[in-house]
Amino acid sequence: MKTLKVKLFGVLTEIAASSEVELNVDFLESIGVLELQAELIKKYPAMKLVQLKIAVNNQFVSDGQCHEGDIIAVMPPFSGG
């Protein structure tokens, strides 16, 4: 079991009642971001209603892997301007 720290933004901070959460997940070298997203939604079902964008080490990714220690950020759609 490994622990991934996930930074949250916008409405997600209200769903999780926090701007950073820890996910305990089981993986060896790395875990796919889609799998990570599924874990997050399992913990916070309301996030299923939000179109999530995931950044690993400050780069948006639609697929790919995260490793322990990576900086993971999950965001809802942008609404600046």
């Binding site: 916008g10 400050n58 942008f78 609404s79 600046g80 301007g81």
Partner: protein
Amino acid sequence: MDKRKVKSLFVEGPIPPTRLSDSIAHHEHKTNIGAHALFLGQVRADSIEDQVVSAISFTAHEDMANQIYSEIREEAFSKFEMTCAHVYHSLGIVQTGQLCFSVFTSSARRKMALEGCEFFVEQIKARVPIFGKEHFASGETQWKINS
């Protein structure tokens, strides 16, 4: 001044109108400029289900926002012949009627200033991780959804 130096997109609170006129006045010595284009986003008192917006508070993934803004600047300067561009977005509370977003581009030619300005506006709205939360007079809030 290197027009491409890394700049922060963000200012705390509303953008004061005098900041813009000062900015315009500072360009008076740049006599290679023929045209300026400005876009200003103002917080609107939208009605949403019988409630009226009184303010928007903005948060952002600041590091990524500034990094993406910097990429947008690179793209803008390679696409449009501009002498300079000044872009700001508010963080924190901005009341209705106040400015939360400003884009100011300058060029020898009007087409380049106008098109460059619009490019910044559209790209920043679409690509920069900023999140607005609408505040109602009742104290209730709702996360903003861009149309």
